[in-house]
């Protein structure tokens, strides 16, 4: 299971990469492996204002439909358009292919996130 050391994680298997005020949000390797082949991603809209914990995307795989929650509040400033025509990118490299970039309102939201070590433990327990 690939868990990069430079990211933060959520209990719902999203990852966050912090770049100044911006947070890249995506799904983890564990998430894509459990979902199986991803066939459709319903994306958020640019300029959507969201609170921490809001749903920002819906990912549909051959097995199930899952909500993606954004662990930080702010404004969506960019979405990964490529996922709309090629949802399989999330299976191929879930860390390279973020879902959206959020301009954070409050960096304190990051305090709630899991460290790579804590997330690794969560995955081990889930298995």
């Amino acid at each position: 299971m690939n868990i990069p050391q430079d990211l933060l994680y959520t209990n719902d298997h999203e990852w966050v990469r912090v770049d100044g005020e911006q947070a890249y949000v995506g799904i983890t390797d564990f998430a894509q492996d459990n979902m199986g082949d991803i066939v459709y991603v319903e994306m958020p809209e640019i300029d959507d204002e969201i609170a921490a914990g809001d749903q920002i995307a819906v990912i549909e795989s051959v097995k199930a439909v899952s909500s993606i929650f954004c662990p930080v509040g702010g404004t969506i400033i960019e979405i990964n358009d490529a996922l709309e025509s090629a949802p399989e990118l999330l299976n191929e490299d879930p860390y390279e292919n973020y879902v959206a970039i959020v301009k954070m309102d409050n960096q304190d939201d990051l305090d709630q996130l899991l460290s790579p070590a804590a997330y690794e433990k969560l995955c081990a327990e889930t298995n």
Binding site: D37, V39, Y40, A64, E88
Partner: protein, 484 residues
């Protein structure tokens, strides 16, 4: 592969003769706006009568229904549809009815609806039913709208959340969302039942109710149901019964006695009417008397010896379907209930439960059984052993079952079990049929060890073999176009 009927078209091969028109003809362009009129030729297949008959006969050979064999699709209750119900539905007095006929000429149909309401009340312990909803999810929506109307009527506008267990059918959260509630998930405990601690912590004055399936999708009876009902009611919420799994307790226990306030049933599951392609369905909704004012109009009432449609119900949601629901389905369920009677319904339930436990017992050790204790009408097996040993997934096992002549069980559901197979044999099957099915699953487990390639490429006996489901979902081709 079978050609589409459009591809069998040969110009000039159809032959039909219409009688001369004996009513005045109407100029379409004078009555329908230009925007809505078709400009190009209508593409219809040009096929002779015998070729039409052969086409559809060929297709009928390629379908699979409960009349073909065991159909253990979990939570779908694919029981046999007794043919006497079809006879009843085809009686000319019913089959020739028109929904616009005056009440005085359809007293028999009204009596049947009135009696069905009464019988469903008796079976489920509720006080009043609407027969209008067209199927299960439509019944759910009607039921949850009633819960919303109840809180609104009490000026209790804070209740914007609906609790749904993590083992629930996907229709439950979907329904709550469509009706405008925020869905809050309740965890299952290690026994596979509603986690009472989690329920307590999430029940508050913002919660409209809890949607619960009992037995749940793991086939387990929610043994804490009286406590669950107390927690929800003390918090001011209502308890909703998803009737998908009523076959696991019908005739033995009643949702109304467990504290459920609103119930939806699936006549096409529990009450033996055709299901799936043979539908349509029917999803009556029953309520306790304090919710009856909100039921859709009309309800059938009786005054002296005459039945009539009662529209004078000022708090009603209004209609949820045109006319009076899928009357033909209600009629078949009525025939089913009368044929079985109270004892028969109970016996059907007991056999459904026995059959599920029989299969569970015999698969033990061959497939992983995550909740290995007495279940109701269905249980969960998993291909976890096969996955670990030979990378054979539940999808592979399901596809291989087709080669053995069985419809696959429900797979990858409930979501809380990995590689889940949800198996519901129903009361329909004899011991010999169950033994054959068990043997097929055991043979597949052996093949997984000895020749996994055989399973990974299944099915092999069907007109088309393993379909590219991922490709079909990612790049769907949903429209046929004539070759130019």
């Amino acid at each position: 592969m079978t050609k589409l009927i459009f591809e069998k078209s040969v110009p000039g091969s159809n032959a039909f003769f219409l009688p001369p028109v004996d009513i005045p003809s109407v100029d379409l362009s004078a009555t329908i706006p230009q925007d809505f009129l078709r400009q190009d030729e209508l593409t219809l297949p040009d096929v002779s009568e015998v070729e039409v008959v052969r086409h559809f006969t060929e297709l009928s050979h390629r379908s699979f229904g409960v009349d073909d064999g065991l159909y253990p699709l979990g939570s779908c209750t694919m029981k046999y549809n007794p043919k006497i119900n079809e006879w009843a539905a085809r009686l000319p007095g019913f089959a020739s009815l028109h929904p616009y006929q005056p009440e005085s000429t359809v007293q028999g149909a009204l009596e049947l609806m009135y009696n069905t309401d009464k019988m469903l009340c008796e079976i489920t312990g509720m006080d009043r039913y609407t027969l209008q909803p067209a199927a299960g999810a439509h019944g759910e929506m009607t039921g949850v709208m009633i819960i919303k109307a109840y809180h609104q009527d009490r000026q209790d506008s804070k209740r914007t959340k609906m609790l749904v267990p993590d083992s629930a059918h996907g229709t439950n959260p979907a329904t709550a969302n469509v009706v405008g509630f925020e869905v809050v998930e309740i965890k299952s405990d290690e026994e596979g039942l509603v986690d009472l601690g989690d329920l307590r912590s999430k029940m508050n004055d913002e919660v409209a109710g809890l949607m619960l399936t009992n037995p749940n999708t793991l086939g387990l009876f929610e043994t804490n149901i009286m406590e669950i009902a107390a927690i929800v009611h003390e918090g001011g919420g209502l308890l909703y019964y998803d009737g998908a799994n009523l076959n696991g307790m019908i005739g033995v226990a009643r949702p109304g006695d467990m504290g459920f306030d609103v119930v939806h049933l699936n006549l096409h599951k529990t009450f033996g009417t055709p299901h799936g392609g043979g539908g349509p369905g029917s999803g009556p909704v029953g309520v306790k008397s304090f919710l009856a004012p909100f039921l859709p109009v009309p309800l059938v009432e009786k005054k002296e010896e005459a039945y009539y449609f009662d529209y004078d119900r000022p708090q009603s949601l209004g209609r949820v379907k045109d006319f009076y629901g899928n009357f033909g389905v209600i009629l078949k369920a009525y025939a089913y209930i009368l044929a079985l009677g109270g004892e028969g319904l109970r016996s059907a339930c007991e056999h459904a439960v026995l059959n599920a436990n029989y299969i569970r017992h015999h698969l033990r050790g061959v497939y992983h059984i995550p909740f290995d204790r007495i279940c109701k009408h269905e249980f969960i097996a998993s291909s976890q052993y096969q996955m670990e040993e030979s990378h054979i997934s539940t999808l592979d096992v399901a596809k291989r079952l087709i080669d053995y002549g069985y419809h696959p069980p429900t797979i990858y559901f409930p979501l809380i079990v990995k590689e889940a197979m949800m198996i519901e044999p129903t009361e329909t099957e004899s011991q010999a049929r169950l033994d054959d099915f068990i043997k097929a699953l055991k043979d597949i487990a052996r093949e997984a060890q000895e020749n996994s390639e055989l399973i990974k490429t299944a099915p092999r006996t069907t007109p088309v073999n393993r379909l590219d489901e991922v490709g079909a979902a990612r790049k769907p081709k949903v429209k046929w176009e004539a070759a130019q």
